[in-house]
Symmetry: C2
Subunit: 662 residues, 2 copies
């Protein structure tokens, strides 16, 4: 059914190199180490959870010993001094067992990241060498049972005792217990604890403290109580737990004091005057956690796609009785429709993630002085982009893995075919490191306020008040989409000529114009609704509640536009007449048209798509799927997932099985 003759010829290793980009070395190194431990995938299925936790720790420590996990830390502490590489390596771990990935993330990203970014030199010297080598195991105790999204309201207290020169950590009520803390139930010896810093009876806001929680023998220290969070949906190799503190004392030096300090006598000081801003500056340094999780989601989706596409090229069912063989699943139009737009979206998100990591690397590799407004704006934009990419990348994983599992029928349900763990382990990605809906609200806040200097202080109601005081035009003019508005206006009417329906459907300027117009229109509409609600004297909480879905739609639209821009720009890196350019263009067009099709109702509501053209978009998607069919296997193979990790039972041919069709 496909016409392989006219299909672009893919050089798989070369395309892998293109996807790997600047960080090919660390990605290949990570693949090599993963390929040496394919048995972890079976261990996850076969081992008792307690044993598997120990197994995962072993693997993490073995990986740590190679030095590959510490590349994000300064060289003087045994690291590699390359933040971008550390993320690229981390996300590549998602091709293997995800408990290993999350355990690495807790130790090196969260625990290590907090000490690196919130601590000063003394902390670095004290902790980083052992931390990087995997000798000092730690956890990141921020979330509480009562507060996950709104971390400014954490209940744990760290009260300064000037007599002793110590902080006293306490959990005042059960809702303030630390919860879901990875590494806490078994392995962590130290915790970075986020708590209200209380001096002379007043809270100075949430700060981070290094708190020992186990002794050398692994026994929980006095004053600390730890409970296992118990069985989880997935990630059985990660020991999540709850922690209570009952008057636990740590020296004054254990405050991670990069942004604020307490003197021996109990005087609080900080370079950042505004308390809320100070807190969000601290939080902002931890953005790499979100970037890492988003990347992990995108890479987990790749595993699902390789499995489903390969299976669909082995499995036959029904078909023309007069033919020798039944029909391959992938030759069914519906099967293509289920898999290829998701393949395109995964490629698109891969490039978006690559760009985000590059930006993260740049921002974090240059130390800007406190108060540099341009640098701060750039940081906020990075945080916003990280939030959006994390949300969309992890929802991508949930969606792609589910569809791929269903596309493999009963085989998809067996643990031996990897979907069980893929699905269960990634499920939490959508709500940890920031709930996706809350993250999209953060993105929207950035769009609506253009990262004002008081950006961080603005909670959702602050944002409502802020926006309501601006003219809508002001909001709109500040959006990044706005600069291209004129072009959009010029473009759309002409291309909507009903006599010329299918023309320009694959023109990237058309795609970009559509997504930019949508973003800008949504933003101005949301601003207008927020203002109107306030003008009518409705309580801000009600105004926000009613406009919330609109606000979130702004964020989605913005991320999708940004992802498309990145993909289109990426195409330019390939020679214009190359097969890879042709193939990537097919995927980019499919991504763009799928986004438009998914929201065609909105575009029609807003006069940006005629009925005829909308139908033409759907037809074009069908055509693109048929063109991708002959290269689908190459496109998933180019993800470079080691064969050792793809030993799914369903991909082993059984007798009676027809020949494999490439």
């Amino acid at each position: 059914m496909a016409d392989p003759a006219s299909a672009p010829r893919i050089d798989v290793p070369e395309l892998t190199a293109f996807l790997d980009g600047h960080y090919a070395d660390i990605r290949q190194l990570t693949r090599k180490h993963l390929a040496e431990h394919p048995e972890v995938l079976r261990d996850q299925i076969e081992m008792d959870p307690d044993d598997f936790r120990e197994r995962v720790l072993e693997v993490v420590q073995e990986f740590a010993a190679t030095g590959m996990l510490g590349v994000g830390f300064p060289e003087e502490y045994g690291g590699g001094g390359d933040i971008g590489a550390s993320i690229a390596g981390f996300e590549t771990l998602a091709l293997g067992d995800l408990s290993v990935l999350v355990k690495v993330g807790v130790q090196f990203g969260l625990f290590g990241g907090a000490i690196l970014h919130l601590g000063s030199r003394a902390h670095h010297e004290a902790y980083l060498p052992d931390l990087v080598s995997g000798k000092l195991l730690g956890c990141f105790a921020m979330t509480e049972s009562g507060h996950g999204s709104d971390v400014q309201q954490l209940g744990t207290t760290a009260t300064y005792d000037p007599e002793a020169g110590e902080f006293v950590l306490s959990t005042p009520y059960d809702l303030a217990r630390k919860d879901y803390i990875g590494n806490a139930a078994c392995h962590a010896h130290a915790a970075v604890v986020f708590a209200q810093l209380v001096i002379k009876g007043e809270s100075e806001g949430v700060h981070a403290f290094v708190v020992p929680i186990r002794d050398e023998a692994g026994k929980v220290l006095p004053g600390v109580r730890i409970e296992d969070d118990g069985a989880k949906m997935g990630l059985s190799g990660v020991d999540n737990g709850r922690i209570w503190f009952d008057g636990v004392r740590v020296p004054r030096a254990n405050l991670l004091n990069r942004y604020a300090d307490v003197s021996d006598g109990g005087e609080y000081s900080s370079d950042i005057e505004n308390r809320s801003r100070r807190f969000f500056t601290m939080l902002g340094t931890l953005v790499q956690g979100r970037v890492s999780v988003g990347g992990a989601g995108i890479n987990a989706a790749k595993v699902a796609l390789v499995l489903a596409v390969r299976y669909s090229l082995m499995r036959r069912q029904f078909g023309d009785p007069s033919a020798d063989e039944e029909e391959l699943l992938l030759d069914y139009g519906m099967h293509q429709r289920r898999l290829f737009p998701r393949l395109a979206r995964t490629y698109a998100m891969h490039f978006a993630q690559e760009t985000l990591v590059a930006e993260l690397h740049e921002v974090f590799s240059t130390q800007a002085p406190v108060g540099d407004e341009a640098a701060e704006h750039r940081r906020r934009a990075l945080e916003s982009r990280a939030a959006g990419t994390k949300a969309m990348g992890t929802w991508l994983a949930t969606d792609v893995i589910q569809e791929c599992r269903e596309a493999c029928g009963g085989n998809g349900y067996l643990a031996a075919n990897r979907f069980a763990a893929l699905k269960a382990d990634t499920d939490v990605f959508t709500t940890f490191e920031g709930d996706n809906h809350v993250l999209l609200q953060l993105v929207a806040k950035g769009l609506l306020t253009d990262y004002q200097s008081n950006f961080e202080e603005l909670d959702q109601l602050g944002m409502v008040r802020f926006v309501s005081e601006l003219a809508v035009e002001t909001v709109v003019e500040r959006t990044s989409a706005h600069t291209l508005l004129e072009r959009v206006k010029d473009w759309l009417p002409g291309s909507d000529d009903p006599a010329d329906d299918e023309s320009g459907l694959r023109d990237p300027s058309y795609h970009l114009a559509m997504l930019r117009w949508r973003e800008e229109h949504l933003i101005s509409g949301a601003a207008r609704r927020l203002k109107r609600g306030m003008d009518r004297k409705m309580p801000p909480v009600v105004v926000f509640s009613r406009v919330q879905d609109h606000v979130i739609a702004c964020a989605r639209a913005s991320v999708e536009r940004e992802v498309l821009e990145t993909f289109v720009a990426k195409l330019e890196e390939l020679p214009g007449d190359s097969a890879h350019r042709v193939a990537m263009t097919l995927l980019c067009d499919l991504y763009a048209l799928s986004v438009i099709e998914d929201d065609k109702g909105w575009f029609m509501e807003h006069g940006r798509l005629t009925a005829e053209r909308s139908k033409a978009v759907t037809r074009e998607i069908g055509r693109l799927c048929r063109r991708i069919r002959p290269i689908a296997l190459d496109l998933v193979n180019a993800f470079g997932i080691p064969e050792e990790l793809l030993q799914a039972e369903m991909l082993v041919p059984l007798s009676g099985m027809p020949e494999h069709d490439g």
Copy 2:
């Protein structure tokens, strides 16, 4: 934010009784037994899978001993003689552990159902009493590794040996091994095996045979090989396995011979001449399996909704700093948007399932003679409706459970809060008992051919050829939607008056008209495209592939229309001025408008919705959500899920937690 004063007052037990309907007794009995075994939910989390399999068997046998699982079998064999009640009881089991449910389904629905419906009196006498009491455990060996959806192509053979008067069962190649067979790995002593009946070297097609597979001591019999399918995503309490047969001999009498028989000398005979039709008549008798799974999916979705709604009425986050308390999650507009349309859809599917069960009960409680065309047409319509309800009911479960789990944040990921098992256990529902996409194709075939007498013979390509030979008008006139077309035409233009946008948006005639028009238009469009493809001399396999998504869209549209019709009719059973009528009408309107909104792009493409009216639909959905907010807790409580089964850790208030808001 909500205005409880104006909300309808729900009497929860009374609403439960309304939902339980005709089968309230068996539902209550099942709830009672489930409530006596809440520990199974913990056992699933805590037990080793091998032990849990034994535990599940124990519970099933205990339930069997009460007689409640055999209600679908004739009274003379220890049953209750009520098919409808047996399904109602079965689907209620989905409120508890789902391994128990599936184990029951295998034993009583599949194994028992096959013997009841495909066997004759001798088989009933020989097997049913022990089967109903749970003494004789069996399995249903239809699916093979190579064929799940296209079961006419099964590879297992049962060759008649006239000398011995025996059938010899063989697995000719590995792809023909039986696979995913529940109860096979450990517990079944007998199997109903589907195999090609071979006489004198010729296959008479697939037939069912009773084959002993284990001896009294539980040892696998000679010639039978069984392997465990190994770990699965979920349903760890069900022992799925693979079976190979190597010359296993069974007496001639072990052919389940209700529809076809073999004489001692090896003469084949059947009242149904056409082979394919014979096979599908046999298959058709097994429709209750699909009805059961669809019902189970709908009930599992209810559990997720109760948990998420209750949690959202305890959990607070962010909100107005000047207020005493943070904001309840359920007071956020987006949270309502995420949960309430799904709540409405679950109610809608509940009533659709109730109607389907009533129809199944009637059809199966009246024995129609072979050849009664009207009865056969009714049976095919039932099969089609069962297929559609199963597909939509199980996708509902996947979607609702996922959204509810995400709506509970980190808590949703902990096994103690039930989502882990709910999600993993129900996941297979979308692909077992018929892959959902294949089932929707079956629905579409019915729509496109009006269940022609040769309906069953038509595979997908036969359907393409059949439709291509009809005039499109013929296809359309036969659709059930067509009878109301005139009304639709009259209705739509008037209500689309832009000056009167929000009028009639809650008029059920408008909703019905929209869904009927869509169904009919999709069917005629699909017929036209199939014809056009054939006219252009494209191979039928290519024609089908290209039109496949359109064909499946027909089926979805048809099910959604049918579900709405059922819901609207159901409202009539409630007094016009009752609070319950008001509440159910809110849900019915929300269901209808959500369906329209989800497909608003299509309606606009086809001139059935103006841009203004489309926006009005979205606004109305927001209003309906706000009206449902004060009664949401009552609406989920009315599902009548025993409190013993809702002991989720996250619903236990912790100190510091604000008061529960009803």
